[in-house]
């Protein structure tokens, strides 16, 4: 009978299993391919958009520089000064460089395209196809197989009298636009016959304008917003693109085949190891019980418990045979089993238990007998019911499953349960036989396996949950051993930047490489975990003193310092480390983590590649900040804030053009607290919106008060925080306040820092539109310190740029700063908006700014920020705009 069972089980179970698994494989394979292609499309589009934006920005800034050149009065003079221009135009052009370009020709031509001066050789443009349009005043930028040509008319007396021409041949253009490296091949398509292969990525090195058909490639195409004729195409070979998914496919197939083999094996094993032996036991026992034939024997078979059981049973039968029907003897045999053996009636009441049952559960056999088995045996998983067709109908099946057995001291142990049912026969009631084996050790092994599941999938380091467990364990161990545990928190400097510029795949590769280096640096007994993002944590155990930590931290910093090679790019990073140590007597993982986090914050504040211990001083700072947070909560209610006012004046006439309202906090104990200190706190405790509204209301009230006092209406500007911008109702709030005070929107100017804009592009775009529509002026504060993407300047309705004070401060000493201020001024001019220089402190700075064409200035040279009354006093004391100024003779050469 057992010989029939196995093939039948296999016959019934295996085809279903194989069909199911193959089905899963086909489905999974489809899902993977689908996901990979969707992901690839997104990745390529993202790259295309990035490349398009970078390309647009590059070209726009080059063209802006040309526009500036066309407005340069020396250039205009060169058109007229036929006799004298040879003395200055060639030098001018030799030293002129269009930002972002690596070569190419820049030339000044007359009104018929004949070259007057240029930075190199080349012919006239009298036959150029764009000449007519350019001479009609149109700014022309064209692309083609010749590369790029950009032409700006030189307007003199309101009429194009010459042209500035910039030519970039394909090689130069390619060099110029080759700014960012990409994971894929990137091409610029001008038309179907002119394509520039910009970035070779991983697929090929051909560099020129050869068109490639799209078969065999996955592509994404985006128009450059500023130059719709230019299309950016990012492409990847189909075979490369789907290599990963094919590999996954193969791996899955292998896994499926192995699963089928494993399941087949499992079925055979189950049948052999569970069904067959019990069957034999039961059959033998039945024969014995029914036929009173004690001569039956079971040939020893199987392994482990079954082998023991069978031999024990044979032994028992021998003894039974020997002692005829001695029940005591039978019990003795059962008691020699190492497994628990319980026999219950069908209600579950235990009628018999062997000695092993008593030894393992610590209950006496008397206590066990009479208990219901359900009260001590808890099933863990559903029994796998295996039918045994052809078996003795009185003995039913052998569900084998795992469960928990309650033992006397209240604990539970894990058991493997095998049971069989004996049907009623004659006067014997139906019963069940349970064989329970202790599998606690096996369970522990399984637990280790589950630990493996708590690894970070990217780096194979411990993940956050395993990290917490290990930290608990380490602290518990430290308490026993009296040694110290150190927690090191690491953070990669510049990671976001690397991720943004090189792409997520490169960022992931960097994280993996960092994980490898960290593991190589630490001992095997230490835990290295990745908590998420670029945040790593290391638990160093078994430390005898604090002295051991410094060398570890330094080794870690050195390990991260050498360059990483990511996809052919050399990238440098560094790490900052915060360290906290837990002395054995107060082991609290959460406190340790908080302390390490604060130490990391301090380490970063001191610069990159640094490490810091958490110490009590830091605790002090942390508490001081907490105290300041608490004070800030009360400051508005207690009227501790006030506004100071700083005038803005016209750079040439000196007339008052407006006033900037600046908040000051007069702390009852600490005196004046700098806005640099309390504004970030107000942002983090969520009071900035309230504070911003207070500023707006106070400024409006002041504006009205001045007007009522008979002063002219003075435009007043207030600063907005990034947090305020995230509030969608900002424009409505502002408008409600100005309406309440009756202030004309034209007199309220809103200043937003450049970094706020960069980090909240979408929110800012919405708010700008809304504010502009209501008639408010919007100024960009601290301009020049952020990433100056020209694209956004064009996108938003901006009324003025404020040059950051840091450039103004050094402009008379540092030519680089002076050229930055000059560039900002001409940028503003070309956009047709105002420009305000902040922090003007010396007459020399003023003189230089005026020469550069700056329209408004603000700074200590005129007046520092002062309370409202002092401002009015200053305003009324000013008899003439420039009274306070003495303009020194400048070193600006006459010719």
């Amino acid at each position: 009978m057992p010989s029939k069972l196995l093939p039948r089980v296999l016959w019934r179970v295996l085809p279903c299993t194989i069909a199911a698994l193959l089905g899963i494989w086909v489905f999974a394979s489809y899902v993977v391919t689908d996901t990979v292609s969707a992901e690839l499309e997104r990745a390529l589009s993202r790259e295309a958009e990035k490349a398009a934006e970078a390309t647009g920005t590059k070209l726009t800034s080059a063209i802006l520089a040309l526009e500036g050149l066309a407005q340069n009065d020396l250039i205009v003079n060169g058109l007229v000064d036929v006799e004298g221009r040879a003395n200055y135009l060639p030098t001018f052009f030799q030293s002129f460089h269009v930002p972002g370009t690596v070569g190419g020709r820049v030339a000044l031509t007359d009104y018929r395209g004949r070259v007057i001066a240029s930075n190199g050789k080349g012919g006239d443009y009298t036959d150029a196809p764009w000449l007519k349009r350019a001479l009609a005043g149109e700014r022309v930028t064209e692309f083609g197989s010749f590369g790029m040509v950009s032409v700006i008319p030189v307007i003199w007396q309101g009429h194009p009298e010459g042209l500035i021409v910039m030519e970039q041949d394909p090689i130069d253009l390619q060099q110029m636009l080759k700014v960012i490296s990409f994971a894929h091949a990137v091409e610029i398509w001008i038309n179907d016959s002119a394509r520039f292969h910009l970035f070779s990525g991983s697929s090929g090195t051909d560099h020129h304008t050869k068109p490639r058909d799209s078969a065999g490639w996955v592509t994404a195409e985006v128009k450059v917003p500023e130059f719709p004729n230019l299309r950016i195409v990012v492409k990847q070979r189909t075979e490369d693109a789907f290599a990963t998914s094919k590999r996954l496919d193969r791996l899955m197939l292998i896994a499926i085949v192995m699963s089928i083999l494993a399941i087949t094996g499992g079925i055979i094993a189950t049948a052999v190891f569970a069904t067959k032996p019990l069957n034999r036991f039961v059959e033998t026992l039945q024969k014995i019980s029914h036929a009173e034939n004690l001569g039956h024997r079971i040939a020893p078979f199987g392994s482990a418990e079954f082998h023991v059981l069978s031999s024990s049973l044979n032994h028992m039968l021998e003894n039974l045979e020997k002692t005829t029907t001695s029940r005591d003897y039978f019990n003795t045999v059962l008691n020699s089993l190492s497994e628990i053996l319980l026999i219950t009636d069908f209600s579950g009441r235990i009628g018999m238990a062997n000695r092993a049952a008593s030894e393992i559960t610590h209950w006496s056999i008397e206590e066990l007998v009479g208990l219901n088995i359900d009260t001590i045996l808890r099933v863990d998983s559903a029994p796998q019911y295996i039918s045994r067709p052809g078996a003795d109908k009185s003995v039913k099946a052998t569900p084998s499953y795992e469960g928990f057995l309650a033992v006397k001291d209240g604990k539970e142990i894990s058991v493997q349960v095998s049971s069989a049912r004996m049907a009623q026969r004659g006067d014997m009631p139906a019963r069940k036989i349970y064989v329970l084996s202790d599998i606690t050790e096996r369970k522990q092994a399984e637990q280790q396996l589950s630990d493996l599941a708590r690894l970070d999938t990217l780096t194979d380091l411990a993940n956050r949950s395993l990290f917490y467990q290990r930290l608990h364990e380490a602290l518990a161990q430290a308490q026993r051993t009296g040694r110290m545990v150190a927690l090191l928190l690491l953070d990669l400097d510049r990671f976001k930047e690397i991720n943004d510029t090189l792409g997520h795949p490169a960022g992931d590769a960097l994280l993996r490489e960092v994980a490898v280096r960290l593991c190589e640096t630490m001992r095997e007994t230490d835990t290295v975990a990745r908590l998420g993002g670029d945040e790593f944590a290391i638990i160093a155990t078994n430390l005898e003193s604090l002295d051991g930590i410094g060398p570890i931290a330094n080794k870690l910093i050195e390990a991260i310092a050498p360059p990483f090679h990511l996809d052919g790019q050399e990238v440098r990073s560094s790490t900052s480390i915060g360290v906290s140590v837990c002395p054995p007597e107060e082991a609290n993982p959460d406190v340790m983590l908080t302390h390490a986090d604060f130490a990391l914050y301090q380490a970063k504040a001191e610069g990159r590649g640094n490490w810091q211990f958490f110490d009590e001083d830091m605790n002090g700072q942390r508490k001081a900040r907490k105290a300041l947070e608490a004070d800030l909560e009360r400051a508005i209610a207690n009227d501790q804030f006030t506004l100071f006012y700083q005038p803005k004046v016209h750079a040439v006439t000196g007339e008052l053009t407006g006033v900037e309202a600046l908040i000051r906090w007069h702390h009852p104990e600490r005196g004046m607290v700098s806005p640099m200190e309390f504004i970030p706190i107000a942002e983090s405790v969520g009071r900035i919106v309230e504070l911003g509204e207070w500023v707006m209301r106070t400024a409006c009230a002041q504006h009205v008060a001045w007007r009522e006092a008979g002063l002219p209406a003075i435009p007043i500007s207030v600063n907005l925080s990034a947090v305020q911008f995230k509030n969608d109702g900002l424009a409505e709030t502002i408008h409600a306040i100005t309406s309440e005070f009756g202030v004309d929107p034209a007199y309220l100017e809103l200043e937003i820092t450049e970094s706020t804009i960069i980090h909240n592009l979408d929110a800012v775009a919405r708010q700008f539109e809304a504010l502009h529509a209501l008639g408010y002026k919007v100024l960009i504060d601290d301009f020049g310190t952020g990433y100056s993407s020209l694209a956004y300047l064009r996108r938003f309705p901006i009324d003025a740029l404020k040059i950051d004070r840091s450039f103004v401060a050094n402009m008379t000493e540092n030519p680089d700063d002076a050229s930055i201020t000059g560039a900002i001024v001409s940028l503003a001019r070309s956009l047709g908006i105002d420009v305000v220089a902040e922090g003007v402190e010396t007459p020399e700075q003023l003189a230089l700014l005026r020469r550069q064409g700056c329209t408004e200035v603000q700074g200590y040279l005129f007046k520092p920020p002062v309370p409202a009354d002092d401002f009015v006093e200053w305003l009324q004391a000013r008899s003439r705009p420039w009274d306070e100024l003495v303009i020194e003779e400048s070193d600006f050469a006459a010719s």
Partner: protein, 403 residues
């Protein structure tokens, strides 16, 4: 502004050309079907100094009308062909080359801009075109080193103008003079003339400052000259940049404003309009050669004024006639050209050029020329024709009293 003005002006030019042409044809019809003799005009007719160009055109038209009414020259009518160079030398050179190809062209009357005139010298002499200068004052325009020299001028000569302006400044008691000059050949020509004139008296400029074409402001340059103790500013500028200089001077506090003694280049355009208030705030005088208000020979000027007002309806008050010197100089040149063609008995340009050099006398509007030109002297006027003038509040030009 230029967008509105350009089409109006060019329409006016087309009309003018047609009128001149029709007048010539009408007269010629009675006599023989004679080919007209063509006179070119190459000047800024539409940009910053368009007013000067228009004044020159009016002078030419008045002379041509008068000559054609009397039967023309050698029995042939005179005809005017106009080319606009907008103050741009590149356009000027092309214009000369084009005009030289016109059948019957004998001479080209130039415009205000010395830089253009100097740039054109090569084309003038290569094409052997007689160049009649009614305005551009640069010394190198006539002292150009070409032999034979095709340039003849009835206008100011910078060498003399520099001396005259310096002398006027000294008469007013200013010895510390600051020079504010256009960075072109004309500015350099005047730097030389003024420096030389001062050197004769043992003086030198306290400072020389330059500005570029279309400069946004010259406040810095004025301030530097003031810092060096300049008592007056000697200005050499075209109308557009000159207006910037006057504006910047007017923006200085009243006590710090310096008198401006200007070359006459500022009067070539619509200079007065738009900065009338600034001009009123600045002590501005400038060089002129001719005015209908106090003309050198009143009877002849009276006659010309009469013709002028009959022909041009905007004439109004004698003080408000636009750039009167340009009109008078151009008128004189056409009359001199007529005499030379008659003396040569031919329209061959070489022969007419030689005849211009040997005319003995001409009784003109400006003065009696005895002789007008010689082989060596290409400038018909000298400093006896120079006066110092100022603007009336309405923008008219009148001589400074006592001149």
């Amino acid at each position: 502004m230029s967008l509105l003005r350009a089409p109006l002006l060019s329409r006016r030019l087309v009309l003018a050309v047609c009128c001149a042409g029709l007048a010539g044809l009408g007269l010629a019809r009675g006599a023989t079907a004679a080919e007209p003799i063509v006179v070119g005009l190459d000047a800024d007719m539409s940009a910053g100094a368009a007013q000067g160009g228009e004044a020159i055109r009016r002078g030419i038209v008045l002379a041509i009308d008068e000559i054609n009414a009397a039967g023309g020259v050698l029995g042939r009518p005179l005809e005017l062909a106009i080319r606009d160079h907008r103050g741009n030398p590149a356009r000027g050179i092309d214009n000369i080359n084009e005009l030289a190809e016109l059948p019957g062209l004998v001479a080209v009357v130039g415009g205000i801009h010395t830089p253009v005139a100097i740039a054109e010298l090569e084309a003038i002499h290569r094409n052997r075109v007689i160049y009649l200068g009614p305005w551009a004052a640069g010394t190198p325009v006539t002292d150009n080193g070409y032999d034979p020299n095709y340039v003849f001028r009835v206008s100011v000569r910078d060498e003399l103008a520099g001396g005259f302006l310096v002398e006027k400044a000294l008469e007013r008691g200013f010895t510390r003079l600051g020079l504010l000059l256009w960075r072109t050949a004309w500015g350099r020509s005047n730097e030389q003339a003024m420096t030389d004139a001062l050197a004769v008296r043992g003086l030198e400029p306290v400072g020389v400052e330059w500005f570029n074409t279309a400069t946004p402001d010259v406040a810095e340059q004025i301030q530097r000259l003031a810092d060096r103790g300049a008592e007056a500013i000697m200005l050499v500028a075209n109308p557009v940049d000159g207006a910037v200089a006057i504006r910047d001077m007017a923006q200085r506090p009243p006590k710090e404003r310096l008198p401006v003694i200007s070359h006459w280049g500022i009067t070539g355009g619509d200079f007065h309009r738009g900065i009338a208030a600034e001009i009123a705030a600045v002590d501005l005088t400038f060089l002129q050669t001719f005015s209908f208000v106090e003309p050198p020979i009143p009877a002849r000027a009276e006659r010309l004024l009469h013709a002028y007002c009959a022909r041009f309806k905007d004439c109004g008050d004698a003080a408000n006639i636009i750039s009167p010197a340009g009109t008078a100089h151009a008128y004189e040149l056409i009359q001199l050209l007529k005499l030379a063609i008659e003396a040569a008995g031919s329209v061959d340009r070489e022969e007419v050029r030689a005849a211009l050099e040997s005319l003995e006398r001409y009784d003109g509007i400006m003065k009696n020329y005895r002789p007008p030109f010689t082989a060596a002297r290409r400038d018909a006027l000298d400093r006896t024709s120079f006066t110092l003038s100022r603007f009336t509040p309405e923008g008219g030009i009148v001589p400074v009293e006592g001149e």
